[in-house]
């Protein structure tokens, strides 16, 4: 299945700011499961775009805008082909012993140790006890069950958590967005000594399926390493296994490794972040109506001395 993806991020500052420096992770990955056939990135005001590959193999584009500016717009456009999942995958399902051997052989520590967002807390421990989560049966089935249990125990509720919320916020309220679902699942899976990582990307929404996560936003889910099966995807927000509708952009230990955009600027300003995401099959006609735009506003900082300081640009939460 081939998709055309558009992802436009716009920052508006009032008054103007200067010396914006930005890094974006927007180029879909090319690997065994998908191919990024084309990718383009446009930045306004004009800037020199440079690219490198980070330590997880994600393409990172970066640029800087030294002069005064009120708007930064980053428009990414990609054509991606997602390969259908191998149907016989489950026959490779391994038992715990095999899995442990595999993990010990390879270099998976990064995805086993606690990371910035995905770390054990008291509330997580409570949830683990409640779900009676422990090694049993076979790893694949256990994670499939966990995927469903998380879907059922948490309400999907936008605007209840923020982009930098620790998992305890969602654990306490029992609701959140895909970013929270993913972080909670990662932390739980790592406690089972199964390597688990965060995937940032998009989900294609078909009309006939009711997904909890909305169209018009980026999405996040997890991948767990299950021996011979490799990295297997789970989407606890929508109670889905990884499928042909998941388009993978970047992988990391958690959101902190792979935010779609990250930047700093100098100047004191109120800022407004708006994000537009559209995912459509490549052969579909151009949609007449663009999906809604997500807008987040921030108040300016009050201290006058902060003019020369670097301010963090707002980040987009994955929904």
């Amino acid at each position: 299945m081939a998709y055309s993806v558009r992802h436009i991020t716009r920052f508006r500052y009032e008054p103007a700011v200067r010396e914006s420096v930005m890094e974006v992770r927007l180029q879909p990955r090319t690997d065994m499961r998908q191919r990024c056939l084309s990718f383009s990135l446009d930045v306004t005001p004009r800037a020199n775009i440079m690219v490198y590959r980070d330590f997880f193999g994600n393409a990172v584009h970066h640029f800087d805008i030294p002069g005064q500016h009120e708007v930064v717009e980053v428009a990414a456009q990609a054509i991606v082909e997602v390969l259908p999942p191998t149907p016989s995958l489950a026959t490779y399902a391994c038992d715990w012993e095999e899995l442990d051997e595999r993990v010990a052989e390879g270099d998976y520590w990064e995805m086993l140790l606690p990371s910035h967002f995905a770390r054990p807390t008291e509330l997580l421990e409570k949830l683990r006890a409640e779900l009676k989560l422990r090694r049993q049966g076979n790893p694949l089935e256990l994670l499939q069950e966990l995927n469903t249990e998380l879907y059922e125990s948490f309400e999907y509720a936008p605007n209840t958590t923020k982009v930098d919320s620790p998992i305890d916020d969602a654990l306490e309220a029992r609701r959140g967005v895909c970013q929270d679902f993913a972080h909670i699942m990662i932390a739980l899976v790592r406690q089972l000594k199964i390597p688990c990582r965060y995937v940032s990307g998009y989900l294609y929404h078909e009309d006939k399926v009711k997904d909890r996560s909305p169209a018009g936003a980026t999405h996040a889910w997890v991948e767990a390493y299950l021996g011979e099966m490799g990295w297997v995807a789970f989407d606890p927000t929508n109670n889905l296994p990884g499928c042909e509708r998941h388009i993978r952009v970047a992988v990391g230990r958690d959101y902190a490794d792979v935010p779609p955009t990250r930047g700093v600027y100098k100047g004191e300003a109120a800022s407004e972040l708006s994000v537009l995401v559209s995912v459509a099959p490549i052969d579909a006609p151009e949609p007449e109506e663009l999906p809604p735009v997500m807008v987040i506003r921030s108040k300016p900082l009050n201290s006058a001395s902060s003019l020369a300081l670097d301010h963090q640009q707002q980040q987009q939460q994955q929904q």
Partner: protein, 511 residues
């Protein structure tokens, strides 16, 4: 308190009556009252000099430190945090033969540690061969995954190193810890020398001491030899010193070194990155920067890449670094090699990369992640020194013999909660050296921090910072914990014996 304030005291010359001979190695005396050969001349000078004269010289030295603003900052104290760095007048003397071994040992150690850093940020041979547990490296808070696959000029990650050595009771030197991030204190080494030369000019000359004054030039040459390949067409690379600013404990040193090297001292806000190139804002416009001697910790260098709340850094600096357009000295991510748990593996690291035995041994170290070690340590806490692995400067440690039961309980809980964060070592009796305390010579515990530079070649300035635990009986030499320092004399040849006659004649003249 001075001698003149005590009329009852008859003696006018300093004595060694209050000098305590301990079980620890004594730098000056081989037996009570019997000075070692290389200390004989100094011993005689001290005995031959009127106490009043010594006190005068100490005052003169203190004044110089005050006037030159040689200070350091103690964090976490409410009153004036900036203090004069206490200095002791009696030099510490190291014979050339001992220094030769230190020099060889430290060169070997730093060579191996640089190879280790290159390895863990590239192929990871030492990890895949199982010599060092992967978990130990990845769980180190100074491990920078961003550095993976990134090449640094000359494969030199640590080009400026300060290694802490201690002398064990048998007289041999051992490494207590490596400082591979932003080692400080070298300005005190230079200041001590400057003052001592003024206070004891003749004795200094006659002893035949290796100079240390060329350190700033050697440092500059080292930095310039690390100019990125991309910039090598440039005749005169721009080298700068990046400081966190006036509130940093070593700010004095930053200004001092920048001035001695004749390079710009800048803060993060003076720099900007455009199209992967670092520029310095000057009154004449932007100027390209090639080499940065940074005295800012990794975490604060680039808010885009590391701590986003850092206001000390330069956004985009890491990208310029990755692109090979600027050199940072030391490189980013060197802290993983001076992690105190990794320290325990250094002898094996040397063996692995160089196929040699370590010339300078480690001190015995217990890893708290090892259950057996942990039990042993927790049962003998009052005999142990427990240290947090990622800390330096004497913060976050427990000195067993000098601790209260409450402190021990606190550390027991901390170790059990986070075993990876702690190591323990048996309490070492650091060697003792004579120090001038209120006009009398007393013995105090000391260590030694030599500074090693690694660029095109390895440079060890003969000497280093001898740190003194000024509190009687104390084993903590860190300046932040009430330590001071003294000048370190490395002798050019022999052990000073041949010069004794000469100096005796000087004493007669002076007396």
């Amino acid at each position: 308190m001075t001698a003149t304030a005590q009329p009852s005291r008859i003696r006018v010359q300093p004595s060694f009556v209050r000098y305590q001979y301990e079980t620890a190695y004594d730098e000056m005396f081989s037996a009570p009252g019997v000075p070692r050969e290389h200390y004989q001349a100094l011993h005689r000078t001290l005995l031959g000099m009127p106490q009043e004269e010594l006190l005068k010289r100490q005052q003169a030295a203190d004044l110089t430190f005050l006037h030159e603003g040689i200070t350091f900052t103690v964090y976490g104290s409410k009153e004036g945090t900036e203090k004069i760095f206490p200095n002791d007048l009696v030099p510490r003397i190291i014979p050339s033969i001992e220094w030769a071994k230190i020099e060889k040992g430290l060169t070997q150690r730093l060579t191996a540690l640089n190879m280790f850093l290159r390895d863990i940020y590239h192929e990871g041979r030492i990890l895949s061969e199982g010599l060092i547990p992967r978990e130990l490296v990845y769980s180190c808070k100074h491990f920078r995954r961003e550095m993976r696959g990134l090449n640094v000029p000359r494969d030199t990650y640590v080009s400026i190193c300060g290694t802490d050595l201690v002398r064990l009771p048998d007289g041999s030197f051992a490494v207590l810890e490596d400082n591979l991030r932003v080692p400080s204190g070298v300005s005190y080494m230079l200041a001590n020398r400057k003052v001592l030369k003024r206070v004891f000019p003749t004795m200094f000359r006659d002893y035949g001491v290796w100079p240390v004054d060329h350190y700033p030039q050697a440092l500059l040459a080292t930095l310039r030899s690390l100019t990125p390949e991309n910039c090598q067409y440039r005749q005169d690379p721009t080298t700068i010193l990046l400081t966190p600013g006036v509130s940093n404990s070593a700010y004095f040193e930053h200004t001092f070194l920048a001035q001695q090297m004749g390079i710009e001292l800048v803060e993060g806000r003076d720099l900007l990155v455009h199209d992967n190139v670092v520029y310095m804002r000057t009154t004449a416009g932007l100027r390209r920067v090639d080499v940065i001697y940074r005295r800012v910790d990794d975490d604060f260098l680039d808010p885009l890449c590391f701590r986003p709340d850092s206001i000390l850094g330069v956004p985009g600096l890491f990208n310029a670094y990755r692109a090979g357009n600027v050199t940072l000295a030391n490189a980013i991510g060197t802290g993983v090699a001076d992690d105190k748990a990794v320290y325990a593996y250094v002898p094996e690291i040397i063996k692995f990369y160089l196929n040699e035995e370590a010339i300078l041994p480690n001190v015995p170290t217990f890893l708290m992640t090892n259950g057996k070690h942990r039990n042993h340590v927790l049962q003998n806490l009052e005999k142990m020194v427990v240290k947090a692995v990622g800390e330096s400067g004497g913060y976050g440690m427990l000195i067993g013999p000098h601790s209260t039961a409450q402190q021990r309980e606190e550390f027991r809980a901390r170790v059990l909660a986070e075993p990876r964060n702690y190591i323990a070592q048996p309490t070492l009796s650091l060697s003792c050296a004579p120090c001038l305390i209120d006009g009398e010579v007393e013995s105090r515990h000391i260590d030694l921090r030599p500074y090693i530079l690694m660029g095109e070649k390895v440079t060890l300035v003969p000497g280093g910072l001898t740190r003194v635990a000024l509190r009687k009986g104390s084993l903590v030499v860190n300046s932040s914990q009430g330590g001071g320092s003294k000048d370190t004399w490395v002798l050019r040849e022999g052990n000073g014996e041949d010069r004794v006659a000469k100096i005796t004649s000087f004493e007669r003249k002076a007396g």
